[in-house]
């Protein structure tokens, strides 16, 4: 499907492409339908529908100077660019732009690991570096640092962190944008800017003090459209000496409230990595009567759920804990966690898990040595990139809605009930929101839940239902004070609309900034729900 950039005719588009070829070489500009196929969002619920967003071309620069040249050419022709790093961004729009006719600025060729320091514990990379690349660089050079890696590992530290992606290790590292430190940005006028200490010529602490002096604009480039990030630093965890796991179970539904409070304490005291919550009762969801109970209108009572747990001989909740550090410290921290929780929650049980020195052996990585069924996925837990998670993808992929909720048991129960009831017209929703749904503890200080129904390219009716469910989920959650943390372009306006305090003061502020530095919308107009004057309706 050939499309043109907004407000540009075919002749000028041809001239524009010719200038791009002059800047980067003819091999690195693509505009045929065949070449643009992989720039579609293959997980899109609007596949082949009018709402699908299409690029008019893609261009892959080799260095910062070429990025600057492309931005200046785009500025002359008023063509929107949509920058992508590397990886897939599936569930969140893939590489598809907000505005049909945008030119995808594909930064894959900028793939240098510029520095990894295992004494001061940081990395500096370009956007085309994947987690696999960074991991291999560290391993090949025998460096004593550990990355925090999302699933799957084909993503890039820069792209993932700019989407505020997450991983699975210690809190200060699994918030990938939070762990970033210093960036280089090409601004919409083509100028190069560095943030933090990078703005001070001669500074050697760009990746050690992110603020520098004065306001720090780094946050504008995450889920935003104020520039194109061409270098970025990340704090890294020193390779821990030892890794240990343990499982806590609690018998009653209401015990979850105390369990969460204890785990919050352990996490905020930097004693544990990601805590993986689950409900053993989820295994009963194949039973029709239990499914009906867990998705009951208004939610089941504690007594009803406890009776079901008793009947099945299962605890109501569990949490996998993970410890990193010196062997003795991991042992003592696990002992402390056990004592703290078991002393406070009657009937709570603890099981010692697998533990070993790092780096892990292949067998340990394969996670076959755990003495109990675990929710931990070992590759992610140890920062080793993998595509193993792809086993869960069905159809042609899925969309993703991840409402953020407070880190409390009561909030979990409320989201279970409200989302289950509110999405009842969509048959699959009960599988995602029910009385056994556990929170995800990916972000450092907040919980999330997930709604990720599958889509199929050849089933537009299913996709339309998924699309409608996503829109309703965003609105429904917002009525309860829960907001999505990340969204595909087709949902970004819906999500941004829900962050509406004081008559959308935040969005109006972003629009003022956008109008000031990029009124023609050269960099990703519409991204994050931020539209420049040219495109505002």
């Amino acid at each position: 499907m050939a499309v043109l950039p907004p407000d540009l005719d075919a002749a000028n588009f041809a001239r524009f492409l010719e200038e791009l070829r002059g800047a980067v070489g003819a091999d690195w500009v693509w505009s045929s339908e065949e070449d643009l196929g992989p720039y579609r969002d293959s997980f899109s619920p609007v596949w082949n529908q009018a709402e699908e967003r299409h690029a008019s071309a893609a261009v892959a620069p080799a260095d910062v100077e070429q990025v600057q040249a492309i931005v200046r050419i785009a500025g002359r022709y008023k063509v929107p660019l949509f920058p992508i790093s590397t990886g897939k961004n599936f569930g969140y729009g893939g590489p598809s732009p907000n505005v049909t006719g945008s030119v995808v600025l594909d930064l894959k060729r900028m793939n240098r690991v510029l520095e990894v320091d295992d004494k001061r514990h940081f990395a500096l990379v370009e956007p085309g570096v994947s987690y696999f690349d960074l991991y291999r660089h560290i391993k090949d050079n025998g460096l004593k640092v550990m990355i925090d890696c999302p699933d799957p590992g084909w993503g890039s530290p820069i792209g993932n962190s700019l989407e505020r992606g997450i991983g699975y290790t210690m809190p200060q590292f699994r918030d990938h944008f939070g762990a970033s430190c210093g960036m280089e940005v090409v601004l919409p006028n083509g100028e190069v800017m560095r943030t933090g200490m990078g703005a001070l010529p001669g500074s050697q602490s760009w990746q050690e003090y992110k603020y520098g002096f004065g306001p720090d604009p780094s946050g504008l480039f995450a889920q935003g459209n104020f520039g194109i990030v061409t270098k970025m630093g990340f704090r890294l965890m020193p390779l821990p000496e030892y890794y240990r796991t343990g499982l806590i179970t609690v018998p009653r539904r209401r015990d979850f409230v105390k369990l969460v409070e204890h785990v919050n304490y352990l996490s905020d005291s930097s004693l544990i990595g990601e805590a993986v919550y689950g409900s053993p009762l989820a295994a009963l969801m194949g039973d029709k009567s239990f499914y009906a109970l867990a998705t009951k209108v208004g939610g089941p009572s504690d007594a009803e759920m406890d009776a079901a747990a008793n009947k099945a001989g299962l605890p109501s909740w569990q949490v996998d804990l993970q410890f990193f550090g010196p062997e003795a410290a991991t042992r003592e921290n696990w002992e402390y966690a056990k004592q703290r929780i078991l002393a406070d929650i009657p009937g709570a049980k603890a099981i010692d898990g697998d533990h070993f020195p790092l780096p892990a052996t292949e067998e340990q990585l394969l996670n076959t040595t755990q003495p109990y069924k675990t929710g931990i996925r070992r590759y992610g837990a140890l920062g080793v990139p993998s595509l193993g998670i792809w086993r869960i993808v069905s159809g042609n992929g899925h969309v993703g809605f991840f409402p953020v909720l407070p880190r409390s048991g009561e909030a979990v129960f409320e989201m279970q009930r409200a989302m289950c009831d509110g999405l009842r017209e969509f048959p699959l929703a009960g599988r995602f929101f029910n009385a056994t749904t556990a929170p995800l503890y990916w972000h450092s200080y907040a919980f999330q839940m997930v709604f990720a129904p599958s889509v199929k390219h050849d089933d537009p009716a299913l996709n339309a239902q998924v699309h409608a469910a996503m829109k309703k989920a965003v609105a429904l959650a917002a009525e309860h004070g829960w907001g999505d943390y990340r969204a595909a372009p087709i949902y970004q306006d819906d999500v941004a609309d829900t962050y509406s305090f004081n008559n959308h003061a935040l969005r109006r502020f972003h629009e003022q900034l956008k109008d000031a530095i990029d009124p023609d919308g050269i960099v990703a107009p519409g991204r994050g729900g931020i539209w420049p004057r040219r495109f505002r309706k």
């Binding site: 999302p150 992606g165 997450i166 069924k373 929710g375 996925r377 869960i392 069905s394 990720a452």
Partner: protein, 145 residues
């Protein structure tokens, strides 16, 4: 007639086990790890060709011959091909001698099922041809007839 499908979507995963997955993709509800023991990986004699590194960096994390994560017997792409062909052809790409560059390119550029498309910036046409040559040589070295 031999089907030229490289990868099909796996059967619907039980939604209760919609496991966890994170930032790069989507997320899901906490699930318990599979308990099946990894099957013995097939014997692969890797050909010393330029396509080896390209395959190992770009394809093997999903289509390798080794075991999958967390006790699953195969990696996702290999598992999908096992389900698709049910043993008619080897599930591991490194044991396939019937995949030329054009065939690989068809799937690499268009994707299929859960397998996504790959851009030329990620894998050039020359890279795909090099992978095809590596797969054929590796299959032959591994004794595939």
């Amino acid at each position: 007639m031999r089907r030229l499908m490289l990868m099909a979507s796996p059967p619907a995963v039980a939604l209760l086990a919609v496991a966890i997955y994170g930032a790069e993709g989507t997320g899901g509800q906490t699930a318990q790890a599979a308990t099946a023991s990894p099957a013995a990986a097939p014997h692969v004699v890797k050909a010393d060709l330029p396509g080896r590194a390209i395959f190992e960096h770009n394809c093997a994390p999903c289509h390798g011959a080794g075991p999958g994560d967390d006790g699953t017997p195969m990696l996702p792409g290999t598992m999908a091909l096992q389900r698709r062909y049910e043993g008619e052809v080897p599930a591991a790409l490194e044991l396939r001698d019937d995949l030329d560059g054009d065939t690989l390119r068809l799937f690499v550029r268009n994707g299929i099922g859960a397998m996504p498309m790959f851009r030329k910036s990620e894998l050039s046409d020359a890279d795909v041809d090099a992978v095809a040559a590596y797969l054929k040589a590796t299959a032959e070295a591994s004794g595939v007839k």
